[in-house]
């Protein structure tokens, strides 16, 4: 097993998941890169911390009692799932189809939406857009319940074209209106019931019951429409079918996938004016979209196996969810629920990413915009403190692995290099980071893990170093 294999697998798991421990990476390298990609692409209902167990600890989440979005519930999935791409793709779609708690105030419906992203997020784009158009949170978020026959509300129609499929500049204002007409009658199925419940129980109005979709034939505009040059008595399904076979859609989705999985692009509103970082890569992905008949899984297969992906190590800034979930997965201590997870759930918000509450319909501004002085302090303090703890199973694992190297004796330089390797491997973008770490360790001289029965001071030194590595500039990158 070469260091390069491990490095590449670690890269894959940072992007397609939330990082992996050394033990997990070794197993994957044994299995092979392409085989690992295939396993990621086909999520299994494998082991993870069960919702039933979580709910027993978090009555607040279960009963939707807290008037806050259910970020903690999702974080549990991210840190315990054995199908990480399922969560990652849901996070990807959540950033694009950004709908917020602010308009629905109902945790249950939001959780249902994310579950829909898990189930449809790797499949055919047409099916995903169709589910999205029927999703109650999206209907409320973009006012489609107010989109009536003879009195259209364009909000959903516009964003479906601008933000969810083709991107600005590929359709006319008239197309937006025709699109909105096709989605009249696509509304909530149980609005009256939910309103009645809200009136009856004012504190926690909606509890565990979710909205559901309803189609009102009498409120649907069934007349002829002309959309993107095609004419017919289109309904919403027809519009989605037309959208999904547009070249612009394939290119727009290719760029989104590149931005999220390969390297940070300019912000989305800049796309019509700024060429892609790697136009050939976008071309490759857009072609895969067409050739696979719009199958996201097939596009991702090409992406993960491409050279442009494999060469893009540490090209992205971790978003707060990746950062927090990554630290906890590597620390490896979530085998049962705990109230500390609520704090970790809040932390993502302190770092600028309140899951289920994106700042606007455009989602979060990503890349370096994740980093400001406030969020950076939160990131560094959380990660440094988390790893500076010899009781954490992940930290213990690294110490045990270290003790087996070099006969357990290390110069400051050796221990820094080994820890950078075992925590990632993390590649230093600059020598100054490594030399600062080496100098730090050197203040207490060489490190020996040989006679560790005599005390744990040496273990503490390793944990402190792991904390410092988590505080580096490089650790913010994926």
């Amino acid at each position: 097993m070469s260091g390069q294999d491990i490095e590449l697998m670690a890269h894959l798991m940072r992007r397609a998941g939330f990082g992996a421990t050394r033990g997990e990476l070794e197993e994957m390298v044994d299995k092979g890169y392409e085989e690992t990609v295939e396993e990621l692409l086909f999520p299994q209902d494998g082991p993870r911390l069960g919702d039933d167990v979580i709910r027993r600890y978090h009555v607040d989440i279960h009963e939707s009692r807290i008037p806050e979005p259910p970020a903690t519930e999702w974080l549990y999935r991210m840190v315990t799932t054995s199908s990480p791409l399922e969560e990652k793709i849901a996070l990807f779609w959540h950033g694009i189809f950004a709908s917020s708690f602010s308009k629905t105030q109902q945790s249950r419906s939001l959780a249902v939406q994310i579950d829909m992203f898990r189930r449809f997020g790797l499949g055919r784009f047409d099916s995903l857009l169709l589910e999205l158009s029927k999703d109650p949170v999206m209907i409320i978020w973009l006012d489609n319940q107010d989109n009536h026959k003879g009195a259209i509300n364009e909000n959903f129609g516009r964003e479906l074209l601008e933000l969810f499929s083709m991107g600005d500049g590929n359709y006319s204002e008239q197309d937006i209106k025709e699109c909105a007409r096709a989605f009249t009658g696509w509304t909530l199925g149980n609005a009256e019931y939910m309103t009645a419940r809200a009136m009856k129980a004012s504190i926690w109005p909606y509890g565990a019951i979710a909205w559901h979709f309803g189609y009102r034939d009498y409120d649907h505009d069934d007349d002829e429409k002309t959309f993107l040059g095609e004419t017919g008595r289109f309904n919403g399904e027809d519009i989605i079918e037309i959208i999904c076979r547009q070249t612009a859609t394939g290119r727009f989705m290719a760029r989104h996938l590149y931005d999220f999985f390969v390297a940070d692009e300019a912000s989305v509103p800049q796309w019509p004016y700024t060429p892609p970082l790697d136009p050939d890569a976008i071309e490759t992905l857009a072609r895969a979209y067409v050739e696979s008949d719009h199958d996201i899984r097939s596009v991702l297969r090409i992406l993960f196996n491409s050279d442009f992906f494999k060469d893009a190590k540490f090209a992205r800034v971790k978003c707060p969810a990746e950062f927090v979930a990554g630290v906890i997965r590597l620390g490896g201590d979530v085998d049962e629920p705990s109230l500390e997870m609520n704090e970790a759930g809040n932390l993502m918000g302190y770092m600028g990413q309140s899951l289920f509450a994106p700042p606007s319909v455009e989602g979060w501004h990503e890349g370096t915009e994740w980093i400001n002085s406030g969020s950076l302090v939160e990131r560094v303090n959380f990660a440094a403190e988390y790893f500076n703890d010899v009781e954490k199973p992940g930290v213990r694992d690294i110490i045990e692995r270290l003790a087996k190297q070099n006969g357990g004796s290390f110069s400051p330089e050796d221990v820094v290099n080994s820890c950078l390797d075992l925590m990632g491997p993390i590649t230093m973008s600059e020598e100054s980071t490594r030399s600062a770490l080496i100098q730090h360790v050197a203040k207490k001289g060489d490190l020996s893990l040989r006679e560790r029965e005599s005390g744990k001071a040496e273990d503490d030194r390793v944990a402190e170093l792991l904390g410092l590595i988590a505080a580096t500039k490089e650790y913010h990158r994926a």
């Binding site: 504190i203 370096t368 406030g374 980071t433």
Partner: protein, 388 residues
């Protein structure tokens, strides 16, 4: 003429959860108040009277003292068109000053940008709490967020002095290195260095500060104490942000609401005394708001989400008094069972931005709004009057 706005600071206090306006500024002579609030009302005898019609909640004694000194402007009937009764959405609207579109930038973030266009001071805007409220967020504008001034900074868990110094040195080296870096690394390095610098500067604040005022232990009082310390250290901070709550009193309202306002009122009273002691009360403006008011009718134990509310502007340069109109409680004047707002919150924002901070309000609140005159026309600054 030299603008004397440079020393002025704004302290924003957000009452989270929707403050019940009717039980804050109480129309104690109005029978409709008692009719609509068979359970959730203050007894007339307990109300702190402001005039023949209106009075404050019994726990607002400290604010009444400031009112008597002419330092409290009460903005009655504040709100915005087509009120939204969702906490999140309505708070967003107050934060972004944009009632119709969902946008990400906040009005105070834009104000920080205009106060310090080159981003020279990482402490121009200071949030006293974790995370960044949307009001303070703006692309490319650094704002410090301080949970607790005493323990603020990097590596708070490393307590032993020498270890702490070593750790911070290592951090400074790791983020300050200059050779061969790419753009992302450059940016993260600069941000880390700025955060370290901000923390270093802020750490000096408590050392420089002394005061006879003893603040209460509740989080808002402690946040305002932190604000006073930073203010007295002259670090160039112009906008402070703190929150208190939860005012979401659907049930068991009276004791909760009394307790919360007791905390807010005494914290503001202590803070104003503190800044007066340090000769800064004429340079300090406290602005208190909530995302919405509550329903006119009570629900038997509390009140549900409503609209139409009240804001307070408090400070040594405030022209005290009642502004806006107290909304009518008559049924045909109501808005779907709520008090009808009569002045747009962006009027108050514009007054604060222009009259207090000396900024052009139009691009910040995205429109022209009639301004109030609750800020006294600035006298010739005493700094200038000493000259010659």
């Amino acid at each position: 003429m030299v603008s004397d706005n440079n020393g002025r600071s704004l302290v924003v206090i957000q009452l989270t959860g929707g403050n019940d306006y009717l039980n804050t500024v109480i129309p104690y002579e109005n029978e409709l108040y008692y009719d609509n609030r068979p359970t959730v009302h203050q007894k007339q005898i307990d109300v702190i009277k402001l005039d023949g019609e209106l009075g404050l909640s019994p726990s607002m004694g400290s604010i009444k003292h400031l009112w008597d000194d002419g330092k409290v402007a009460i903005v009655n009937g504040i709100g915005y068109p087509e009120p939204n009764r969702s906490h999140f959405r309505s708070m967003d609207i107050w934060h972004t000053a944009e009632p119709t579109k969902v946008i990400g930038d906040g009005w105070l973030g834009r104000a920080v940008r205009d106060l310090d266009p080159k981003g020279e001071n990482v402490l121009t805007g200071l949030n006293l709490g974790r995370g960044l409220p949307r009001a303070l967020s703006c692309r490319g504008v650094p704002v410090a967020s301080v949970g607790n001034l005493e323990s603020y900074g990097l590596f708070p868990d490393v307590r032993e002095e020498e270890a702490r110094r070593d750790t911070l040195n290592t951090f400074a080296q790791m983020y300050g290195g200059a050779e061969g870096r790419d753009a992302i690394s450059q940016f993260i390095g600069e941000t880390g260095s700025a955060a370290l610098k901000g923390a270093d500067i802020l750490r000096t604040a408590p050392e420089k500060y002394s005061s006879s005022v003893e603040y209460a232990a509740n989080p808002l009082a402690q946040s305002l104490k932190d604000a006073a310390q930073v203010m007295c250290a002259d670090l160039g901070t112009r906008i402070y942000y703190a929150q208190h709550g939860s005012f979401d009193t659907h049930g068991g309202q009276l004791p909760t609401h009394n307790k919360l306002w007791g905390e807010v009122s005494s914290a503001v009273g202590d803070f104003m005394q503190d800044v007066r002691e340090h000769g800064r009360d004429e340079e300090t403006l406290v602005f208190v708001f909530s995302e919405f008011g509550r329903r006119i009718k009570d629900n038997g134990s509390g009140t549900d989400h409503g609209s139409g509310g009240v804001a307070f502007c408090i400070g040594g340069s405030v022209e005290g008094g009642l502004y806006g109109e107290y909304p009518s409680l008559k049924e045909h004047d109501q808005l779907e069972g709520d008090l009808h707002f009569n002045n747009d919150f962006r009027s108050t924002y514009s007054t604060i931005l222009e009259g207090w901070l000396g900024l052009d309000a139009v691009p910040i609140v995205n429109g022209n709004f009639e301004q109030f005159d609750f800020i006294r026309k600035s006298k010739i600054s005493h700094k200038l009057s000493g000259v010659g």
